[in-house]
Structures are given as C-alpha cells and as structure tokens.
C-alpha cells in the first residue's frame, strides 16, 4: 500500500458513516453487556443481590448475547468494511445495499434483545432465558431464534458485499496479489459461511420448528453438536478482526513494519482450514458421542496451536522491529522503547499478553482428560474473559481510539483517559479472571446465581473463597469503570472539536511482502475445498451416530429406525453413484449403514 495523507472520512465519506454506525451498535451492546456483567459479579458473590435469582439466567443470556454476538460482530462488520475499502482503495459498490445488511443485523438483534428483555416482565408472555448457547431443552420464544437468524443472514450479505467489491477490484487488477487485509477478510468470511451452516440447520430445521410447536421434540445432542459446529469457529470470528489489528495496526503504532506478510497469510489459511472440525472439543463431557470422535477433535485442536504460535512470533517480531527502529536495544531492553503512552499501542499489547496467558488455560481445556477437571466450572469463564473478553474486547477498544477520529474527523478526547481505561481493564481482568480460574479448580460452577450451598464449603488450598470473591468483585467493578471510561472517550470525541491535522488512513507496511508469499496461498478455492473435506471427515460419522442413537427429532416423533435406515441407505446409494468403480468403498459403507440401523434396533 502507499502511504496516504488523507483520513478515512475524506477518502470514503459514505463508508465512514456506515462503519461508524456499526461501531456504535457495537458500543451500545458493550455498555449494556458490561453493566450486566457487574450485576452478575455482585449477585454471584452475594455482595449485592437486587435481582431475583430466578432472573439470573435472563441477565446472563443478555450478557452473553450482547457481548459475544452483538458487540463483537457489529465491530467486525465495521472493521472489515474499513479493511476492504482501504486495502483495495475502492468504495463499496452500493452504499444502499450495504445499509441494507446493516439494517438486517440491527433488526435481528433488536428482535432477539426484545425477547430476552421481555423475560424480566411477567405481563409479556415472551422470554428467551436460554443463554447464548440455547441448549435444548431450554426453549425461547421463536422471536429470539428468528432474530438471531436474521442477524446472521445480515452478516452473510455483508460478506457477499465485501467479496463482490474484491471481484470488481480483481477485474481491474488481474495480476496483483490480494492485499493482506482483504485476504484476511475473505478467509474469515469463507470460514464463517461454513461454520454458520451448522447453527442455521440447528435453528431452522430443529429448534425453531420445535419452539413454534410444529414438532413435539428434538434430539438435544444433535442440536448441541450442530451448535458447537458453529460455536468453535465463532471464536475465530471474534478473534480474526483482533488478529487483523495485531498484524496490520500494531506494527505501525509500534513504529515498525509487519515482519512477514506470507506468515500472516499462512495463519489465516490455517484458521480457515482447521477451525470448524474441532467443535466437538466443547463436548468432551457430552454422553452420546463416542470417545474416538472426541479424540479426533482434540487432535485437530492441538494443530490449531500452530497458527496461534505463528501469530505470537510474527506479532512480537513486528513490535520488536518497531522498538529497534525507535532505538531499542538488548534482549529484553527493547521493550522499554515501545510507545507505552499511546493507548492504541498499550491496549493492544496488553490484550495480546492476556491472550497469551489464556493460551495456558486453553491448553488445559483442550486436553480430553484434564478437561474433566475444569468443565463447566468458573475456570472456563476465567478463560474466555481472557480470550474474547480481553484479547478481543480490549483490542477493539484500543483501536477505536485510532478509528473514531478517522471516522468522524474529530480529535480524540482524551488520550490520558484512554490510557487509564486500557490499564484499568488490564488490572480488573487480571484480578477477576485469575480468581475465576482458581475458583474453577475448587469446583465452583459457572452459570449459577447462588454458588453457596448449605452444609458444604469449597475448600481452597491457597487463600479462601472469600478472598477469591473479593478479587472477583473488585475486578468486576474496575472493569465496569473501564467500560464507562471507554464510552466517555468515545462520546467526548464525537462531541468534541474537529481536528485538521489527523494522520492519514494507513496500515503497516511489511518487511517481507506478498511478493515473497507462494502464489498457492491466494488460491482460496483450494483452501475452501480442503476446509470442507476436513469438516466432512470430522462430522459425518459423529452426526450419523448421534442421529442413529437419538433420532432426528428425538424418540417421540421421529419414527426413528425408519429415518436412520433411510439416511444410511441414501448415503450408501449416493456414494455408490458417485463412485461407480469403487465398489469396494460402497460395500463397507453399506455395512456401516446396516450396523447403524442394527444399533438402533
């Protein structure tokens, strides 16, 4: 890319409005979500209980959905719109169309939010206190699911919008490499299309008909498995925009260049290929899924460590490059030369550090046997407040200090407050998440309004539960404060004076550029096909066996053995047609189908 003197607002005024709207939708979700987080902290620890414990799930559902669906994804669509237009130096084909997908997402989220909030009001016969995982048999009002589906379809259309912008660019630049930010958007969206198929099927084919009363029952293991088919890759959907910022923004604000464009491409390709066939690692404790399938999911998960470590290396090396260009020396002394007074830098660097710490608890979660120790405990909550709750959330907040002036032409109010904000988040999360991890090791459960039990005490090896609770409460309050400061800076900036000396809309240059990246990396068709094949390998047999044990719609309605033998023979027949020569392949498949049917009978 060329160094450019103009801020984004002047380059793409129409797009800037759209990105700004998406960011504000995101920030509003963050505000409400964080407020509810503080309520949860106070309630669980019995410091202050002003809601009825029966309403705790309603609060927790809103916290989960607003933060990990609305806050993250609205921010993503804004960021990706910026990334596409900036790196291709090209506007979106039709702003009207683009406002259309944004409107869909807003309408969907409002519908879901209405159904969740209605859970507080007894006079409205609508509720959706089913958490963001909506496991059956928890059932929400249909509006909740319809809203979520609409929201997701909105993201599909957004993806199409970015892809067609890239197509247009490709017509005009047939021989150029895909610019890195666009490459990241494209790989992430392909992953998203594959991943959301799972949740779309779960919702449209099973859960929605069931909540509408069209079918009497469903197979909970099946819908859970379809949920996690989506539920693992969705974490990469949160993470990829943060990674994008670490790759293309962090080196720049550190005063250096991205260490390697080819490595960045490899990482995004690996995430595209590997993120879906791992979902079963969230179901290590689910009965009804054979250990062997779980083992395969664990193996795939461990492979995912590879792109994470590649990222750690590339990002740190890029920061070090910046530090040395700024005069830093020594093995660790260069760290002092980094621009720690810049909230954009410091926020992102602390977010990355927290994310690295989460690497450890993630490794524990990922191990099939040791997962038994922490499953569904507070440990897990501690883990993902480091990953999505800090690695992603703090990165988003930090880069907003760069984006908001770019999008509004206003001067950032106020750099010092912004710096305090990111530090507060770091301190608050260190306290809260550390105590959550430790609490989990003692067996304190998650998703519980009153984890205090008559005649039973959690035994702490070190410290005490009271000490953990204190850390959680203090941490939670600091996080609440930090969120408030963040919003104050955003509002103060928008209301403040214009700034005529804004820096141009640039991202990091590279030490080793795309010309060093093998061409095959840009072959998105190839990676898509490989990703789909891996998904088929990882999921066909588990899904068949889940259906054969529990029926497509559970035991009551399904006419179960029939649906299975039908399914089994259809598959055998399809494969038979596809591979006429490979009779040897179809024979075992038919045997497998018969065996499946046999098990059921």
């Amino acid at each position: 890319m060329t160094s450019n003197e103009t801020p984004y607002l002047e380059q793409f005024p129409g797009e800037a409005k759209l990105v700004k709207a998406a960011f504000w939708s995101s920030f509003i979700s963050l505000a409400i979500g964080a407020l509810f987080g503080v309520i949860q902290v106070l309630h669980r620890t019995d410091v202050l209980r002003f809601i009825d414990s029966a309403d705790y799930y309603t609060v927790l559902t809103i916290h989960g959905v607003l933060l990990v669906i609305s806050f993250t994804i609205f921010f993503l669509v804004g960021l990706f719109t910026w990334a596409i237009t900036t790196s291709l130096d090209r506007p979106l084909p039709s702003l009207r169309f683009s406002w259309g997908w944004y409107g869909m997402m807003v309408a969907g989220m409002l519908a879901s939010a209405f159904s969740m909030f209605a859970g507080f009001i007894d006079s409205i016969d609508v509720s959706a206190s089913v958490l963001f995982t909506f496991y059956a048999p928890l059932q929400a009002h249909p509006l909740y699911y319809i809203g979520l589906v609409t929201f997701v379809v909105g993201t599909w259309v957004a993806g199409f919008d970015w892809i067609r912008t890239w197509w247009g660019w490709k017509q005009d630049n047939p021989d150029e490499r895909i610019p890195l930010p666009t490459f990241m958007v494209l790989t992430t969206m392909i992953m998203w299309y594959i991943a959301t198929l799972g949740v779309a099927v779960a919702l449209l084919a099973f859960i929605l008909p069931w909540s509408l009363g069209l079918v009497d029952s469903i197979n909970p293991t099946l819908t859970r498995t379809l949920f996690w088919f989506f539920g693992h890759p969705v974490v990469y959907f949160w993470l990829m925009p943060a990674y994008m910022m670490w790759y293309i923004m962090l080196p720049k604000v550190a005063g250096g260049k991205l260490f390697s464009d080819p490595l960045a491409r490899v990482v995004f390709v690996l995430f595209l290929v590997l993120s879906v066939p791992t979902g079963i690692h969230h179901q290590y404790l689910d009965p009804g899924i054979a250990e062997g399938f779980k083992f395969i999911a664990m193996t795939n998960t461990m492979f995912l460590l590879l792109p994470s470590f590649l990222t750690a290396f590339t990002v740190v090396a890029s920061m070090e490059h910046g530090a040395r260009q700024r005069g830093g020396t020594g093995y660790l002394g260069w760290l002092k030369a980094l621009p720690w007074r810049d909230p954009v830098f410091t926020g992102m660097a602390l977010a990355g550090m927290m994310f690295a710490a989460a690497g450890f608890s993630g490794m524990i979660n990922a191990g099939m046997n040791i997962n038994y120790l922490v499953h569904n405990t507070f440990w897990v909550v501690g883990h993902f407040h480091l990953t999505v709750g800090t690695g992603v959330a703090l990165t988003f907040m930090a880069v907003s200090y760069w984006f908001m002036p770019q999008l509004t032409g206003k001067r950032l109010w106020n750099r010092t407050v912004a710096l305090v904000q990111v530090l507060l988040w770091f301190v608050g999360m260190t306290l809260m998440s550390n105590a959550m991890h430790r609490g989990g090791l003692l067996g304190i459960p998650r998703r519980t309004a009153e984890p205090q039990y008559d005649g039973f005490e959690f035994e702490a090896g070190v410290g005490s539960v009271a000490e953990l609770d204190a850390q959680i409460v203090i941490g939670g309050i600091l996080l609440g404060l930090s969120t408030a400061l963040f919003l104050a800076v955003m509002i103060g900036t928008v209301l403040g004076p214009r700034d005529d000396s804004l820096p141009g809309n640039n991202y990091a240059e590279t030490l080793s550029g795309p010309e060093d990246a093998p061409l095959v990396l840009d072959n998105l068709k190839l990676w898509t096909i490989i990703a789909i094949i891996l998904v088929i390998f990882a999921y066909t047999l588990p899904l068949l066996s889940i259906i054969s044990r529990g029926g497509l719609f559970g035991f009551e309605t399904g006419g179960l053995p029939l649906s299975i033998s039908l399914l089994g023979s259809t598959i055998a027949a399809t494969f038979g047609e596809l591979l006429p020569a490979a009779g040897s392949v179809t024979a075992p498949l038919e045997t497998a189908a018969t065996t499946l049917t046999g098990i059921v009978r």
Binding site: S3, N4, E5, M249, K252, V253, G255, G256, F259, A312, F313, V316, A317, E320, H321, R324, Q325, R326, G327, G328, G330, Y331, L332, W334, L335, P339, D342, V344, A356, F360, M363, I364, N369, I370, Y372, L373, A398, V399, Y401, W402, P405, R411, L412, R415, A418, L441, G461, T493, D499, S501, L502, P503, G504, N506, E509, T510, L511, S512, G513, E515
Partner: protein
C-alpha cells in the same frame, strides 16, 4: 515496498495511534529478532512450569478425578 519510509508524523495531539518517525530504518536483512526469541522462550518456559504445576493441582490437591480412578482401576486389575 519494504524500503519505503514511514509517512511524516503529524501533531502529537492527534490522539491515539500517533506514530513517530523511526530514529533509524532497519531493513529486512539487517533485522534479527533475538528479543522475540527471548520473549517467546520465556513464555514457553512459563507454559512448561505451569503445566508441571497442574500435575499437583490435579493429582495432589484434589481427590482423584476420572483419570485417577481409571488408573486406580487398572492397577487393581
């Protein structure tokens, strides 16, 4: 591309993400990320230490969990 210099830095008050021009330009071939090696090495050591620590949390701090009882079962058998 890799040899281009940073865009001129604008005013200090421009807010977050303001970039100072480099004191010296370091190109691809003269850059040796030893600090990264040191930092990642340190991280790796911490991971290994925590991993060992987890052994104590899992097996000594608590009653045997599923793994423990399976192992116990094998030993009895």
């Amino acid at each position: 591309m890799s040899s281009e210099t940073e865009p001129p830095a604008s005013s200090q008050e421009a807010g977050g993400g303001h970039v100072d021009g480099p004191i010296r330009e370091i190109g691809h071939d003269e850059y040796d990320p030893v600090g990264t090696l040191a930092l990642i090495g340190l991280y790796f050591l911490i991971l290994v230490a925590l991993w060992f620590f987890m052994y104590f949390v899992e097996f000594i701090g608590n009653d045997p969990t599923v793994v423990g009882s399976i192992l116990g079962g094998v030993m009895v058998a």
